[in-house]
Symmetry: C2
Subunit: 261 residues, 2 copies
């Protein structure tokens, strides 16, 4: 089942997608969503960020090729993670499918995409095991962990490099039924395929991350966990349109626009 | 004015404090809070976390003595920050005044307190200047940035070291009128004063942080910015009670309890 968070004028709600029709519900789909009886055409609503997470988790480095290629770019030896440490991103940076990524006027020119699978939590969970970890997962969406590499390396934290306003596109919808092992991440820049990798070919898989994190941390409904990316991005410039497709799930499309002031 | 977020049974609301009386409002005090006509005795309500922030900012290292003493403990040279980089903490870890900090059963023994001034944002803000930065501030509360130093240093991020469940006590209330320059941070362990410093004696002050961060980031109502700490903490053990007082504002009290499993 596919769920979108959408707006119609000032009204924001969740709805299920059936073909071109959105069937509205009151409440969140992982809680006590109840049909309102209203339906809309997909083309008549605006797609919003699929969830504003209480906590915004990100696996960071979780694919071998990404680590190897990024190290090569920087002229250093690759360092593979020894355990599933989780990181964080910030809600101010979220934008929806179709919205612009704004490159600040005074940003260095190392703007990169990172196409990621996003796990959406549906149930409060602690002390999960790898065997039951997926019980807390509501569904999946797509994230683009947009990064400015100069800031990422020069600052003490990722605050500017990864959390500048608009640097975290997420969407377009949440899909509750996906085939993770068949899924490929395909990234296109201006319509041309730039990168393709097996989405589930992670160093530490989803179940392992969920089990490790919940040894210490309670996950809550609406939390998201971005699972990291493979490969490397070209440096993106004003006007570039980046599409992150997760095959079978959907396409997240955002244009990069340089701010003028 | 002092605002408390409180519960009475399953009911959670904000209220203003006058002596021993809480005057309830509907909505958040920085939005369109309207009196409900209900009042309570302070002793009849439970103090809740004063705000669940959309984004949870933390200045991290922002006092000279803390940097010097922590470096000395580790046998390394002190490194002072060259600019106001902001970091993040996670909502799962928040607990209220009077609630326990739970030391996980398998945690290393380097549990420390960090008493901090917390800035609560009341208005959406971007591109602030140091001159107008305080316009977005609703008020102030107290935070204890509880840290397990082994995890803090050994993990790739602060996820376990600073964001394990219950590691972020915040409260007890939000005060809109404080005298920052007169304020002292006083920390007591089991009733005995352990540390005292001038709260506003920061490397980078509040106005500077707000101006720097909002060059890139939009702040939203309810966001919090923890301003860092001075000095160092002893290693805390099961049963220790830590009080963080900000003079003129209040006292945040939490007991440390070792989990049995």
């Amino acid at each position: 089942m596919r769920w979108i968070r959408f707006s119609k004028g000032d009204h924001i709600a969740y709805g299920s997608i059936n073909g071109d029709t959105v069937t509205e519900v009151a409440g969140a789909p992982w809680a006590d969503a109840t049909p309102t009886g209203k339906t809309y055409n997909m083309s008549d609503v605006k797609i919003e960020i699929p969830v504003i997470p209480p906590t915004f988790y990100c696996a960071g480095i979780n694919y071998a090729t990404h680590i190897r290629e990024m190290a090569h770019k920087r002229g250093v030896e690759p360092v593979y993670p020894s355990k599933a440490d989780i990181g964080y991103r910030a809600n101010n940076a979220l934008v929806a499918d179709g919205e612009d990524v704004v490159i600040p006027a005074h940003a260095p020119p190392k703007m990169n995409y990172e196409g990621e699978l996003v796990v959406v939590i549906g149930k409060k969970a602690k002390h999960l095991t790898e065997a039951n970890a997926f019980d807390c997962v509501f569904g999946y969406t797509i994230g683009n962990d947009v990064s400015e590499r100069t800031w990422q390396r020069g600052d003490r934290t990722f605050w500017r490099g990864k959390n500048t306003d608009t640097f975290k596109p997420m969407g377009p919808w949440i899909d509750t039924d996906v085939d993770l092992d068949a899924m490929e991440t395909v990234i296109r820049v201006n319509g041309k395929e730039d990168l393709r990798f097996k989405t589930n070919d992670m160093i530490f898989g989803i179940a392992h991350y969920l089990a490790e994190v919940t040894k210490y941390i309670t996950l809550y409904p609406g939390d998201v966990m971005w699972m990291g990316t493979d490969g490397t991005s070209p440096d993106l410039v004003h006007g570039d349109v980046v599409e992150v497709e997760l095959t079978g799930l959907g396409v997240l499309t955002n244009r990069f626009v340089k701010a003028t002031a």
